[in-house]
């Protein structure tokens, strides 16, 4: 089965600093892969390079079978993302913002699509409101609606439930799972929320200081580190407290 994402020796240097350092991984179709790591681990940098927003210093990236450095426009219509590091124009209404992006992505039947997403993500009540007047949680849901407008085959999500209350966050996770089941899409998720990763991800890549330090299914990582939950595994990795039992190597 061809990987949806194939990354080989990906490196991003800012002067002497290696934000991402010889990272290689693949993500198979229909899976949800979690990219975990502390601040500065290289998660957002990796996602930016997958989208072609950031040019790597070295390495190769294939997304949906295309070399993203040479032919990014062949795939961008089938990919989408949300991230707390980017925003939408505050003075436009939610409806206008979504309508503009639906048009940019060439979405047919855009108004029904926007209405449907608005209902699913519980933003229908403020479609006519200025985006800038929304709460942080409402903005996060609008950003997610924008990311789903084109029914992406690959969805890149950077902290998708940041700023959401536990109830809404839980419903969004359920929605993402349902979306994946319905469309067969592949999700790559960067998150600090271990509960979210355990619930959504079939595969987890652990990053620290720009490198991949471990990888596996959530269950295997728990066994490997002898921990009860991913949060403890995350802390072990973040604080370099890798257990002897974990030294047996990463999953293939």
């Amino acid at each position: 089965m061809n990987a949806v994402i194939q990354v080989e020796a990906l490196t991003k240097l800012y002067g002497e600093l290696a934000a991402v350092d010889h990272v290689s991984f693949e993500v198979v179709p229909g899976s949800t892969c979690g990219l975990l790591g502390g601040n500065g681990a290289g998660k957002t940098t990796t996602i930016s390079m997958l989208l072609g927003l950031l040019l790597p210093t070295a390495g190769s990236i294939r997304v949906l079978g295309e070399d993203i450095l040479a032919h990014r426009y062949r795939v961008l219509g089938r990919v989408n993302f949300s991230s707390p590091y980017v925003d939408l124009p505050h003075r436009l209404t939610v409806q206008e913002n979504l309508s503009v992006y639906a048009r940019l992505y060439g979405v047919r039947d855009r108004e029904p699509r926007i209405r449907r997403l608005a209902e699913d993500l519980d933003i229908a009540a403020f479609l006519k409101r200025s985006y800038g007047n929304l709460s942080a949680g409402q903005k996060t849901r609008v950003a997610l609606a924008k990311a789903l407008l084109n029914d992406p085959q690959l969805l890149l999500l950077d902290e998708p439930t940041a700023s959401l209350d536990p109830d809404t966050a839980d419903r969004i996770r359920g929605y993402l799972n349902a979306y994946k089941a319905r469309t067969g899409a592949t999700l790559l998720l960067a998150s600090h929320n271990m509960l979210e990763v355990e619930r959504l991800c079939s595969d987890v890549i652990m990053m620290r200081a720009g490198r991949i330090v471990d990888r596996g299914t959530p269950e295997r990582l728990l066994v490997r580190y002898g921990r009860a939950n991913l949060e403890e595994v995350f802390l072990d990795i973040a604080r370099d407290r890798r257990r002897e039992t974990a030294a047996t190597g990463m999953d293939a």
């Binding site: 957002t44 950031l54 426009y73 048009r103």
Partner: protein
């Protein structure tokens, strides 16, 4: 080939223009501001013209020369601001990441910026030009067809400077946004807006002759004083503008690529 695969899509340009119109529509003070400065300039220079017409034989020969100068100068100024300030809005709203993760090409954004600049310039300067008719009994439209050539040339020069400024602000951050307000004034003294280029010192005349605007304003005076359209001046302005616009676009797209190397599309700010 799907619509998102097309290397050049007028539809995507249209969407971006629509978005800028949404932005404009959402803020009536901004619409008002578009016409405010050109109108203030026109009123000020209108009274100066009225006073000087009776005290200057030069002005008496063509009383509209100062008003035509100020209105045409504003075409260039508004043209530049129409590109750079609209681009800054993308930076203020941290929206570049969303835009360029979509099928939108950078050169399509450039086309959209130029289009909205034209619309904003027409609103801003058009209003002032119309107001000059009842206020001073002067219609810039009396310049006839040459007015169109002057307008296009000055607009294109404004676009070129606007793209250059936008590129610099993308590279150096919003801390450099004041460039948008000061850049064009650097060329004002040598553009021959209110006086012939011949009054400048020799070395400044050399500089003036490198600017498309100087040929436009010389051409404007030729129409007003001599009632002739100077094709030679028009051709020089067009030739220089082709170089200017090419340079402006190349700098903007070059900086855009550098921004992808430096991660500026995700992290923009001061």
């Amino acid at each position: 080939m799907s619509s998102t695969d097309r290397a050049f899509s007028p539809a995507r340009i249209g969407v971006m223009v629509l978005r800028y119109i949404y932005l404009l529509r959402r803020s009536w003070p901004r619409v008002l501001e578009l016409a405010y400065w050109p109108t203030m300039q026109m009123i000020l220079w209108g009274f100066i013209s009225q006073f000087m017409r009776t005290n200057s034989s030069w002005l008496a020969q063509a009383s509209g020369v100062l008003l035509a100068g100020v209105l045409l100068w504003d075409v260039m100024f508004r043209g530049q601001l129409g590109v750079s300030t609209v681009f800054f809005e993308e930076m203020y709203s941290r929206n570049l990441g969303h835009l360029f993760a979509s099928p939108l090409r950078p050169y399509e954004l450039v086309c959209a910026l130029l289009t909205i600049s034209l619309i904003r310039t027409l609103i801003g300067v058009g209003g002032a030009a119309l107001l000059a008719i009842p206020l001073y009994h002067y219609s810039i439209f009396s310049l006839g067809l040459p007015l169109l050539t002057f307008f296009v040339n000055l607009l294109v020069m404004g676009w070129s400077i606007g793209l250059l400024v936008s590129g610099l602000v993308l590279r150096y951050g919003l801390g450099a946004e004041n460039l948008a307000w000061v850049a064009i004034f650097a060329v004002a003294p040598v553009s021959g807006i209110y006086y012939p280029v011949a009054v400048l010192p020799d070395w400044l005349q050399v500089v003036a002759h490198l600017l498309p605007a100087s040929y436009v304003f010389e051409g404007m005076r030729a129409v007003l004083f001599e009632h002739v359209f100077r094709t030679d001046l028009f051709v020089r302005a067009v030739a220089l503008n082709i170089v200017y616009l090419g340079f402006g676009i190349a700098v903007f797209l070059g900086v855009f690529r550098a921004a992808r190397r430096r991660g500026l599309l995700i992290n923009v700010g001061e």
